[in-house]
């Protein structure tokens, strides 16, 4: 091999030289040169070398390279040795060696060139392979994407919901029972799918039939409506004639003194009243005609408003209960109770608006009211209707459902609306046929039965209470008038002559005198020091009327704060005393004054004797108080206040009680209780 290469060395030498020339001539690559000279030796040599490079084993070349390097090294060494000798012979040898070594270098160059070729070729192969790998990778990604897409499609298909699932079909048994043979097809509908299809078909047929039926009914309805319309027109044509006739008869009516028109008008308005008030009106009017000519019953208020209200309410199904006194509007409407239109309407409104609407509805006051006038010679109107019957102060809504309804829409306690709405006395409810008395078992059953908690007005209830209520009002009015006469007299400093029945309950004359009598307020009363025990014991309340009386005898001055109850004379007036005489004496620092208070506040029943005692109870209590003051002063300080009353002992017992009790013996004797 070495020889072979040595043989070719000459030729190669030439090529190398030639290449150098060409390379120096400026062309960057060998290719143009080869092109220029077709079949040029240079190109041939290159081709040959390329072929050679691919044929030769690179490992052998490496060995060859190493050997050549060793040879060069050896010859260098030898040359160095020879140079040391520095002989003629040595010089010749050196020249020879130089030539052989140079040849060896040429050989090295050849090897190098071959290596270059090989490197280039392997690089080309690598690039090609890389491209191949890239294309495969791309393909793989395409495929993966396709798989993903297909999977998605599959899940989409799996999740598909058919419309028919929402349709409510008739049960299978009913379907087979009712549908004709050509639809059921028992031979085909063995699978679930076929069965479903058949049932859907049946549903479709049925719906079609129903739609036809609906259309038919609609037509019928329109026909009837047209008929009604035509009839109404005819009726309306009659109206002018009728009113004409009425107008013509007016003079006749006037002449005969029959208030027919007025009555009719009242009755018409009465129809607009809500049911409880209507019952009240009817019953009161009947009672007036039958028994009590001194009473009159009139419907008052805004008629048009009432008509509007009635219209707006007739569009809703339940008839709400309104009462001008009670304002108990117990519509506990569950949402389904409200008509369809109302529902849609409500949906549009905001939540806030709805709440407002409900609040308004709950506190609605009917525009109409019934006035009942009961005539007596005089009239006076302070608090007169309160506690007409025991415990009926009108502070609570009579309907037990009301507090819950108010709380549900976030309103305050019912009491705070009384000034704007009116006072819901229980007797007024009964008069209007509303029985809220939960103590009666049958009523409880009714209220529990109706889901809305409504109490329906019934005439029976009204009938039962009409007479008693009117009588109670009459009595109250009488009592109040009597009280007013007494108060008027007091203001003039006049102690009324006592009723004959009570005449022997009092000493004939009193030394102490009523100096003044004024109206006082609850605030005055409440802050006064002497009244604390009474206020704490709730013996007096804000609803009472308060007065301040001053009684004088000599240097003594008794100030009495008097609370007159709304249901006076059933509950008597309550006195609170403060005596100014040698310091202040009252129930919290002097037992004798405490006893005096007890005498009028507790032992008043002794004064409630004989017919018509209620007429003068306050005056009687007052007389008793004044005689007690006389006793107190005469017993305590006989030197200052000469003894005019008859009593045995000024003091008695460990509590040194004064003889406040009057015994009608002889000229009247006072003794200890």
């Amino acid at each position: 091999m070495v020889k072979e290469s040595v043989n070719e060395r000459d030729a190669r030498e030439v090529t190398i030289k030639k290449r150098r020339k060409t390379s120096t001539s400026g062309a960057s690559s060998a290719l143009p040169a080869t092109k220029v000279v077709e079949g040029d030796v240079y190109k041939n040599v290159i081709d040959f070398e390329e072929a050679e490079a691919s044929l030769r084993d690179p490992d052998n070349d490496v060995l060859l390279f190493k050997n050549t390097c060793d040879e060069i090294r050896k010859s260098m060494y030898e040359i160095a040795e020879l140079k040391k000798k520095n002989t003629e012979q040595a010089l010749a040898e050196i020249a020879e060696k130089r030539i052989s070594t140079s040849l060896l270098f040429v050989f090295l160059k050849k090897l190098n060139r071959l290596e270059k070729f090989r490197t280039k070729r392997s690089r080309d192969i690598l690039n090609k392979e890389k491209q191949q790998v890239d294309s495969y990778h791309l393909q793989l990604q395409n495929l993966l994407y396709e798989i993903l897409h297909l999977k998605k499609e599959v899940t989409k298909c799996l999740e598909f919901k058919s419309k028919d699932e929402e349709i409510d079909l008739v049960p299978v048994e009913e379907f087979f029972r009712e549908a004709p043979q050509e639809i059921t097809r028992p031979d085909v509908t063995l699978t679930d799918h076929q069965l479903k299809l058949a049932r859907l078909e049946w549903e479709r047929l049925q719906r079609k039939q129903l739609a036809d039926q609906c259309e038919q009914l609609q037509k019928d309805k329109e026909k009837v409506a047209a008929e009604i319309q035509s009839k109404r027109e005819r009726m309306e044509n009659i109206t002018p004639h009728l009113s004409n006739i009425l107008e013509r008869t007016q003079p006749l009516q006037d002449y005969l003194g029959l208030p027919l028109d007025k009555v009719r008008k009242q009755h018409q308005v009465a129809y607009l009243l809500p049911r409880p008030l209507y019952i009240l009106y009817v019953q009161a009017d009947a009672y007036r005609e039958a028994c009590d000519k001194m009473m009159s019953v009139v419907v008052g208020g805004d008629e048009e408003e009432a008509v509007r209200l009635q219209h707006s309410q007739s569009s809703r199904s339940p008839v709400p209960l309104e009462n001008d006194d009670s304002e108990s509007d117990p519509e506990l409407e569950a949402p389904e109770d409200i008509g369809d239109r109302q529902k849609r309407h409500h949906r549009k409104m905001s939540r806030q608006d709805r709440l407002e609407e409900r609040k308004k509805k709950l506190l609605l006051s009917h525009p109409l009211h019934v006035e009942i006038h009961i005539k007596l010679p005089d009239n006076n109107n302070i608090n007169i209707l309160s506690e007409l019957f025991p415990g009926d102060d009108g502070k609570e809504s009579p309907n037990v459902a009301n507090p819950y309804q108010l709380a549900r829409v976030g309103l305050e306690h019912f009491t705070s609306y009384i000034p704007t709405l009116g006072i819901p006395y229980a007797w007024a409810q009964r008069l209007a046929g509303l029985d809220f008395m939960a103590s009666q078992p049958d009523v409880v059953a009714i209220t529990q039965g109706s889901s809305s908690g409504e109490v329906i007005a019934t005439p029976d209830v009204s009938q039962a209470s009409m007479e008693s209520v009117v009588k109670a009002i009459r009595h109250r009015l009488k009592a109040r008038l009597a009280l007013c006469r007494q108060l008027q007299a007091f203001e003039e400093g006049d102690l009324r002559p006592v009723l004959p029945a009570l005449r022997n309950m009092f000493a004939t004359k009193c030394a102490a005198e009523l100096a003044s009598w004024h109206i006082a307020t609850w605030e005055d009363y409440r802050v006064a020091g002497t009244t604390q025990k009474l206020v704490q014991a709730e013996a007096v309340s804000k609803a009472d009327n308060f007065y301040r009386a001053v009684i004088n005898r000599g240097t003594a001055r008794l100030i009495a704060l008097v609370a007159v109850k709304p249901d006076y004379p059933r509950s008597p007036a309550v006195f609170s005393l403060n005596l100014h005489w040698c310091g202040e004496h009252n129930s919290s620092n002097d037992d004798a004054i405490r006893d005096m208070e007890a005498e009028v506040n507790i032992h008043w029943k002794e004064l409630a004797k004989g017919h018509g005692w209620g007429q003068g109870l306050l005056a009687a209590q007052f007389r008793r108080l004044i005689s007690c003051l006389d006793i107190y002063l005469e017993a305590t300080a006989p030197n200052e206040f000469p003894r005019e009353k008859t009593f045995f002992k000024p003091f008695r017992g460990r509590n040194r009680a004064r003889p406040y009790k009057y015994l009608p013996i002889g000229c009247g004797i006072f003794s200890q209780r």
Partner: protein, 321 residues
């Protein structure tokens, strides 16, 4: 309408013989029984109520002026009558075991009140200070009148004894000291005669008297004061701004005083204030106390409320009649 409880007045109280019950009588003739065991040791199954466990009205509703308790009976003094009630029946259905009528003179219009009852430990007899100016002594065995003490010019407010000495306070403004073995009184003091005691605007009457071996307490219209029984002279005048004294008592080394005043006082002998208990009543008419089985002081008067002090010095419960 005013509840009559608002004007309730308690004139007398006593403890039952066993010490478990407090008996209270008022001017409406009602007697209320309070269970001290429940009040002072409330338990889960018996929660303490401030209400009486029993309440009953004695015949005719005449006021209960005085009460005293013996081993067998609760003895009540009303108007013209002294009655004995069996202890066993008190909490279930109270019934009268016996009644003594106070002998009254024919020309008297009213029956005398039994203002003060006293059980004398020395002879076991019942002493009654009455509205007809006399003190009667009854034998509790047969109810017979043994004797009476007369000498006062007005009705008796209060009587108290120490050994054979009996003291009586009267509306006539005197305190008389009697030896029960003698017919007439041996000594008499007139508090209103002393300038530093007399309060003219309140009057002369003596509402309360209490005796110990050497000392005597009295007060009423005149200021409450301590007297030495041998020398019959005022030793201490107690500084109270009241409008009349109705209760005075010795207890150990202190003196209790109550009357028409918002506070109930504890004094030392020489006049220092030891305790000041606020009172629910306008006037204190009655106070009772015991050490065992329940240590308690009960103060009552012209109110429907009764103040209970388990430690004698401060009020810890208020009962309602």
């Amino acid at each position: 309408m005013v509840d009559k409880e608002l004007y309730n007045t308690v004139l007398s109280q006593t403890f039952s013989a066993c010490g478990r019950y407090l008996i209270v009588g008022n001017t409406y003739g009602e007697i209320a029984v309070f269970d001290l065991r429940l009040l002072l040791n409330p338990s889960d199954e018996h929660p303490a109520t401030r209400k009486p466990v029993q309440k009953f009205v004695i015949n005719d509703g005449v006021q209960v002026c005085s009460m005293v308790s013996t081993k067998k009976w609760l003895i009540t003094g009303t108007v013209g009558e002294i009655s004995g009630w069996d202890w066993n029946s008190i909490t279930s259905s109270p019934k009268v075991s016996w009644t003594i009528n106070i002998p009254s003179s024919k020309d008297a219009l009213e029956k005398p009140d039994v203002n003060s009852l006293l059980l004398n430990d020395m002879d076991g007899n019942l002493y009654a200070g009455c509205g007809d100016n006399k003190i009667y002594v009854f034998d509790l065995e047969d109810g017979k009148l043994i004797r009476n003490f007369s000498g006062h010019d007005d009705y008796i407010h209060c009587i108290h004894n120490s050994g054979t000495t009996l003291a009586s306070a009267s509306e006539d403004g005197t305190v008389k000291l009697w030896d029960v073995r003698q017919e007439v009184y041996c000594h008499m003091i007139q508090p209103h005669a002393h300038e530093k005691l007399y309060r003219p605007h309140l009057g002369k009457w003596v509402g309360a008297v209490s005796l110990s071996d050497d000392w005597l307490l009295c007060g009423g219209g005149p200021r409450p004061s301590l007297w030495h029984t041998k020398s019959l002279d005022v030793t201490t005048v107690y500084p109270m701004d009241d409008k009349g004294i109705h209760f005075l008592a010795f207890h150990d080394d202190r003196i209790m005083a109550g009357g028409c005043y918002p506070y109930f006082y504890h004094f030392s002998y020489n006049g220092d204030v030891l305790a000041l208990i606020p009172s629910s009543s306008t006037t204190v008419y009655s106070a009772v106390f015991q050490e065992a089985p329940y240590k308690v002081l009960s103060i009552a008067g012209s109110s429907s409320k009764i103040d209970l002090c388990s430690n004698f010095s401060y009020r810890d419960q208020v009962l309602t009649f």
